[in-house]
């Protein structure tokens, strides 16, 4: 199995993540979409590192990204909590103050 298979899976995961961000009516799914994008990136990091020789750089980036994703999830959930307090809703379409 060559590199193309990994990249294709990664692209598919990325596309699914994007779609989740754009079309889902629940903000938690949007967060999940973000995680999927991050993981698509992780797959790429790991795949390229594997096929490029015996270097650990790509794996290290992937681990950093997982840690970053955990921190990001905490911040994001806090934002979601505040949005819910403010709007009584977790629909992203209700939080439209940016229009002003």
């Amino acid at each position: 199995m060559g590199l193309e298979a990994y990249v294709a899976v990664s692209a598919g995961l990325f596309a699914l993540g994007i779609i989740a961000i754009i079309v889902r009516r629940n903000v938690l799914y949007v967060l999940m979409g973000i995680e999927m994008i991050l993981n698509a990136a992780n797959i790429n990091f790991v795949a390229f590192s594997h096929f490029q020789g015996d270097s650990l750089d790509g794996r290290m980036f992937a681990i950093f990204t997982i840690i970053l994703a955990a921190a990001e999830a905490a911040v994001a959930l806090a934002i979601v909590l505040n949005v819910f307090h403010l709007y009584d809703s977790i629909k992203p379409s209700d939080a439209d103050l940016l229009r002003e």
Partner: protein
């Protein structure tokens, strides 16, 4: 008492300053002062009277003492003009050319005639002021009236004192304006419904008629001014003789006239004749001579004191006074015109005076007639006689008018003599005053008018008898004057008999009036018939009730007038009686203790008025003999003159007595017999109608034509222009609204549309933004890949 110009000229200036100050104060504060300020101008005029009489007395006395070469020939040739006192003010003065023709130097000229005239004006004007305090009581514009007569007096005083013709003309015009104001005094008074229309009309008529004369005088002034300048500039002799020539000063004009005529070989140049005629035109207008006399009878639309003022001391006297001032500059031809005009006026006005019934109209025509006497006298070379008659006439005519005013006041403002009669029982003082002055005007010996009229007749006789003068003109003048003098005696006694004798007819008022209006409708102005209720409403509310009750004895009968009226007419009657004596002889030796010789003849001779040289020349101009009292000619003419004037006076009085006391039925019979002639005279020779037809109608028609042109053509152009612009404006409005506003609105709308479109994208939805971002990224990627 010496007349000292340096001390006494300021007094003369005060004579001018007092009335004009009174006028200003009265205009400004009159209404707020107690009694509406009538005492202010009256007191001022009293001061003026005192100053003028004092100065005249002083000046004449001084001249009497010092003049001449001895007591037998004591001459009265004083002539003080401003340079003596350093009293001149300069106007339009070009300092670069110190003696150039642009300069106007104005000042005071105080000569014997001026001194006497000034005193006469002072006295008469004071009496009129005093009279007005009684007569005008209750008037609507009482304070304005006093302001106006004050300025009127000021103008006449200034005219007498002016030493140059330009200032004389200025005062002359002020007088014209004030006569307009005063004749039209009732013109805005709704309480005199009949009078106020007449007054408006009469004041306009007076103003416009005299304006013709004023224009002529102005033209004459310029003829003299220009030609004197030209002659002076052209001739070295004249420049040498008169280096400081001022072409407007009377003294310089006289002297220059004499020199020019001498240079011309004793002949008057044509321009002097023309200028003299024009100047006489001024007299014709102001002094109501023949063609322009029509304003004077209507001037009685003004209040009676104003009539007295106009007819006696001011206005009409100004014309004769001007004649006195211009006499040396008038060529024999001009003097002949003067004579003829004067004689015609004297005669024809007297004929009208015989048939009118309005008390004031009789006096008005008698004034015209007497002015004709004066003018004729001047034309015949009898300058002294003319001026003398002006002085005596001022007194007795003022008295007659004021007495007539008193009668009118007493008879509740009725003016028609047919409604009077027997008034002497009710108003004895007025009757005596009026009788005295009637005797004076009729020329009865020992009354003032006799002396002056006698001198005029004498001038006529001298002209007839003088072979050098001769011709038909003096004969015509003498005949006219003699007949006019007889008519004067007749109509004045007709007035006395109709007004003061017989029974009082005022109670038949209502009845008689309707009848007379139906019969004639002649008296009064040619306006709106005869509505004679005017007097009752005017300032006499207490009487109007009585009149409405009809035959209430107490309210209907006349009454003597209040004290200011009585005092004023008494003073004037005294002067009307003795006014001639003062000038003729010195009865009480007041002037000079050892003299009682006649001296008015010396007071206003050409020599005393114009200085010895000009005077002697002016005397010889028309006739050698008149002033030479030692010659047989003068002696015989004097005898004739006295005989003639006595005869005509007594004839006139007897005729009046016969017709209006003895056979009171006769006048109507005679009038009927005379038929058309009576109508002709009664309608005042149709001169008003002729003037209307010849001048007023064509002028009005011309005005109508111009009005039509103005309305049709000029207004048409203007309106067309306006209409075009109006229409154009609609077009421009359309352009403005559609194109310009459209563009502006389009820009605005466009921005709005863009805003609205882009606002749709700005939803505030994160997901949408993310979708756009992704879409954009994809597009960029696609573009990168495909290119």
């Amino acid at each position: 008492m010496e007349f000292n110009p340096e001390v006494d000229f300021p007094l003369l200036m005060a004579v001018l300053a007092i009335p004009v100050t009174a006028f200003i104060l009265q205009i400004a504060f009159g209404k707020k002062l107690p009694r509406q300020g009538d005492w202010l101008p009256t007191t001022g005029m009293f001061g003026v009277m005192c100053i003028t009489v004092y100065l005249a007395f002083k000046a004449i006395t001084a001249a009497y003492h010092t003049g001449g070469d001895g007591e037998e020939h004591a001459a009265l040739d004083f002539l003080w003009s401003s340079p003596d006192a350093g009293f001149q003010f300069k106007w339009l003065f070009d300092s670069a050319k110190d003696a150039g023709p642009l300069n106007v130097v104005a000042g005071i000229l105080y000569d014997p005639l001026g001194a006497v005239m000034l005193a006469v004006v002072g006295i008469v004007c004071f009496c009129v002021h005093l009279f007005s305090m009684g007569y005008m009581a209750g008037d609507r514009r009482y304070h304005i009236f006093f302001a106006n007569i004050s300025l009127f007096s000021f103008a006449m005083l200034g005219l007498v004192l002016s030493d140059n013709i330009l200032f004389l003309f200025i005062f002359w015009e002020i007088m014209g304006l004030m006569s307009y104001q005063l004749i039209g005094h009732f013109s805005q008074d709704p309480s005199v419904p009949f009078f106020h229309k007449w007054a408006t009309w009469a004041s306009k008529k007076a103003f416009l008629t005299t304006r013709i004369g004023d224009c002529l005088l102005f033209v004459g002034l310029f003829i003299f001014y220009r030609n004197f300048n030209l002659a002076w500039e052209a001739s070295a002799t004249l420049q040498q003789a008169m280096p400081d020539f001022q072409p407007l000063l009377f003294t310089d004009m006289w002297e220059m006239g004499r020199l020019i005529v001498a240079q011309n070989g004793g002949e008057f140049p044509a321009w002097m004749t023309l200028g003299g005629l024009c100047a006489f035109g001024g007299t014709i207008g102001k002094s109501a001579q023949f063609p322009l006399h029509i304003w004077l009878p209507d001037a009685m639309a003004g209040p009676t004191p104003v009539s007295a003022m106009i007819h006696a001391a001011t206005m009409v006297a100004a014309g004769v006074f001007l004649l006195g001032r211009m006499y040396p500059l008038m060529s024999p031809e001009v003097l002949n015109v003067v004579t003829v005009i004067g004689a015609i006026t004297a005669l024809f006005a007297a004929t009208i005076g015989m048939v009118v019934y309005d008390l004031k109209a009789v006096l008005a025509y008698s004034t015209i007639s007497q002015l004709g006497f004066m003018v004729t006298a001047v034309g015949l070379g009898g300058l002294t006689a003319g001026m003398f008659h002006m002085v005596t006439h001022a007194f007795f005519k003022a008295c007659l008018f004021l007495s007539a005013g008193s009668v009118i006041h007493g008879c509740h403002h009725v003016q028609d003599m047919r409604l009077m009669g027997g008034v002497r029982k009710y108003m004895p003082i007025t009757f005596v005053c009026m009788l005295v002055c009637t005797l004076a005007i009729a020329g009865v010996p020992f009354f003032s008018g006799f002396y002056s009229k006698d001198m005029i007749i004498l001038a006529g006789w001298a002209g007839v008898l003088d072979p050098a003068h001769g011709g038909w003109i003096p004969a015509f003048a003498l005949a006219s004057l003699a007949i006019a003098a007889m008519m004067t005696a007749f109509y004045m006694f007709r007035l006395i008999f109709m007004t003061f004798f017989g029974e009082y007819r005022g109670n038949q008022k209502q009845h008689m009036y309707t009848e007379q209006i139906a019969l004639e409708g002649l008296e009064g102005p040619p306006l709106h018939g005869h509505d004679d209720d005017h007097g009752d409403d005017h300032g006499h509310d207490d009487h109007s009730d009585a009149d409405h009750h009809g035959h209430d004895d107490h309210g209907g009968t006349p009454h003597e007038s209040p004290w200011p009226i009585v005092v004023a007419i008494s003073i004037l009657a005294f002067l009307g009686m003795f006014g001639g004596h003062f000038w003729l002889a010195d009865p009480g030796h007041l002037i000079h203790p050892t003299h009682s010789e006649p001296w008015f003849t010396k007071l206003a001779t050409p020599e005393s008025m114009y200085g010895p040289e000009v005077g002697a020349w002016a005397t010889t101009k028309i006739s050698e003999g008149i002033h030479n009292h030692d010659s047989d000619l003068a002696h015989s003419s004097h005898a004739y003159a006295v005989g003639l004037s006595l005869t005509v006076a007594s004839l006139g009085i007897l005729l009046a007595w016969f017709l209006y006391v003895r056979r009171r039925d006769l006048p109507n019979v005679i009038a009927t017999k005379l038929g058309p002639i009576y109508t002709l005279v009664r309608r005042r020779y149709f001169i008003d109608e002729i003037a209307t037809a010849c001048f007023i109608k064509p002028t009005m028609q011309l005005c109508t034509v111009f009005k039509t042109i103005d309305e049709r053509i000029i207004d048409g152009f203007v309106l067309l222009n306006g209409a075009i612009h109006h229409k154009l404006a609609f077009f421009w409005t359309w352009i403005d609204k559609t194109v310009v506003d459209g563009l502006v609105n389009f820009v605005g709308l466009l921005s709005q549309a863009f805003g609205a479109a882009f606002r749709l994208l700005q939803t505030g939805r994160i997901q949408q933004y993310a979708a756009f971002a992704v879409g954009g990224g994809l597009l960029v990627a696609a573009w990168l890949i495909l290119s």
